[in-house]
Symmetry: C2
Subunit: 384 residues, 2 copies
């Protein structure tokens, strides 16, 4: 199996999984219990938060809460901005990107049913929500701009500095979903002035059931899961200590592996693209000549239905993605930046991880080339 | 260590923890991915849901969704009844019990800030929300009654059949938090006509980060965590397969152990109460002569501050509870059913599990007796 669907989930780190074990077998009491057994985990909890703060580049005054997934974090943002800002102040416009992921789009849609105005910003030909495009939809009633910092299907990185500057200037909160960016991109936290940053754990080799939400110092937002004073009252419900511990380890490892991602993984991604392009005519590598995430490649193969290709590759042992799940369909994402419909629906996303090897890439190339040629022959025969 | 705080969390089942492992190490791909690796877990997911349906006594037509904790499930209920019923229909009264747990009370409080009316029903001297007491606060604008079926601190079991009948009669949705009841109480699902049932995993020996929500067939409610078509669109975000699998095993084991809980564990609980009562004067066993949960004992020790006693017991290796975390303080819970303040704040809750042994109980008795006597001597000396 050659796994190139790391934007959906990456293999859980062995260290992260091992680190969970003591909290299943020995230190399983609730950290909300004040007795000795409940308090046994306080050191581990502290260490894990420290790693999360480090990954995001948060200050001690900021809040970082552990959540059950990125989707929870995103819904937290929309829900709380609605209750804390839209309702009391009448600023009830919510903005996300046309190519954004399902949690933001669907959370926004839910708010529309409650009387808010939801807007999807267009992207330009590079897949970018530029400050100019964003400026066009902002009004004095805008409460929140929520964007995926980097796209897990296309690798497109949003110009977040200029977006952050615009939001700050207009007094609008900015939320960035950093799921595909953390550990994969260098950035200066002080230049990315987001008010809220969320991420999902599995994309950084943490187990399922993990995520986080960063809340800038000074921003008071309500809990989404109300229910106790856990996590400074920002998320009720007992803390999932094994999950938090694993996410902490995964965060540290993701930071440590960032150099590798930006060099070796990027090289393998380039090798994949070049090798496939050398052997298949009439194909396109999207967003290749712009700043993008180092581990993601999005390619279009004219004349091939991407669902058929995904299925064929899966049968031959190469796992890729056409979106779905929490993603939009890749065809819709590409069309939003001007790719024509047929090509958009002939496109596939491959996402590598720090564990992807050169020999896997070379094998994947063979299988992709063969599958594309096979499907083209088949559809030509069908047409003639 | 003698652990008698099982209402907060019970030791994760070894079988449940073992069952998680393959999903951390081998079958970790997202079940939302349509490729071979993503679909490897579909059998395990199906089995786990089957166990959850079995535990609750749900029909195939009902929905059961896996959540990250009971608090999420409870918040889901309040949030969705608000958006789906209160907003469009103007039925915006929400009712919970005065002795209910923090998630229901706090979720209701959040809705009050959005213009809803929240009401806490009184309990009678037996800790019961009777149909009569409930009827007093119901109005035609009532949308939801949310109650803890059984209380994790006191063991009080609510008369849910009569409450369900009343709610059905008035066209009001009924949500029961069954966290402390499932696997501990025999009930006929067809007689407990709740529309929504939630529970938290750790109280039934499942690991942290697990919970569920049952939604009766025919009741359409919005997702709380929006974000994709996972779990029939009722909860976005990738499914936590190891967590779900563990919860499934824990559910099966909880059903299997119900006989044991209702006989042997109840015997040990009675032994604890009798042995302590035999040796300590001026103490009270609350709710002893009524139908109650088999594994919980709530006792009051006049002249002893329960915080001091909790601390003293913890030092000597006995883990008990005075509430807090997702619970209310035990003193407030007892006072709500008429216990006078000083005694209420001298009270402690002990919760056993199917793993509690007779020798643990006998040791605990020694330690409790000694601690109470010690603290009484100390406070007498202090007064004189």
């Amino acid at each position: 199996m050659i796994y190139l669907d790391n934007s959906m989930a990456a293999r859980p780190s062995e260290r992260a999984v091992s680190a969970m074990m003591p909290f299943f077998t020995d230190h399983w009491a609730s950290p909300s219990s004040p007795h000795v057994m409940g308090q046994q985990t306080s050191g581990a909890i502290k260490d894990a938060y420290k790693s999360l703060y480090g990954l995001i580049g948060a200050n001690n005054e900021d809040a970082v809460i552990f959540t059950s997934c990125g989707a929870e974090s995103v819904n937290h943002v929309f829900h709380s901005v609605y209750t804390d800002i839209a309702l009391p102040r009448g600023k009830n416009h919510f903005i996300t990107g046309k190519t954004d992921e399902a949690p933001a789009l669907m959370a926004m849609h839910q708010l529309e049913e409650q009387g808010c105005i939801g807007k999807c910003v267009d992207v330009d030909g590079r897949g970018h929500v530029t400050a100019e495009l964003l400026g066009d939809v902002l009004s004095p009633r805008a409460a929140l701009v929520s964007l995926s910092w980097g796209d897990g299907l296309t690798g497109v990185v949003q110009p977040v500095e200029e977006i952050a500057a615009l939001c700050e200037d207009r007094g609008i909160l900015l939320h960035l979903d950093a799921t595909h960016v953390l550990g994969k991109l260098y950035f200066a936290p002080e230049e990315v002035k987001a008010d809220l940053i969320s991420f999902n754990g599995p994309q950084m080799h943490a187990p399922q059931g993990t995520g986080a939400l960063y809340i800038r110092h000074g921003l008071k937002i309500s809990p989404f899961i109300a229910g106790g004073m856990e996590q400074a009252g920002l998320r009720g419900g007992g803390v999932n200590v094994p999950g938090l511990t694993a996410l902490g380890i995964a965060a540290t490892e993701a930071l440590e592996a960032r150099d590798l991602m930006c060099t070796e993984t990027a090289r393998l991604r380039d090798r994949l693209e070049k090798s496939v392009a050398d052997r298949i005519e009439d194909m396109v590598v999207f967003y290749q000549n712009q700043h993008r995430l180092p581990h993601i490649s999005c390619m279009g193969f004219r004349g091939v239905a991407n669902e058929a290709l995904l299925y064929q590759l899966s049968r031959k042992g190469v796992m890729a993605s056409i979106g779905g799940g929490s993603f939009q369909q890749i065809g819709l994402v590409l069309m939003a930046s001007g790719v024509e419909e047929t090509l958009a629906h002939s496109s596939l996303s491959f996402s590598l991880s720090r564990e992807t090897t050169e020999s896997e890439i070379d094998k994947a190339v063979e299988i992709i080339v063969e599958a594309v040629k096979h499907l083209r022959k088949f559809s030509n025969a069908f047409i003639n």
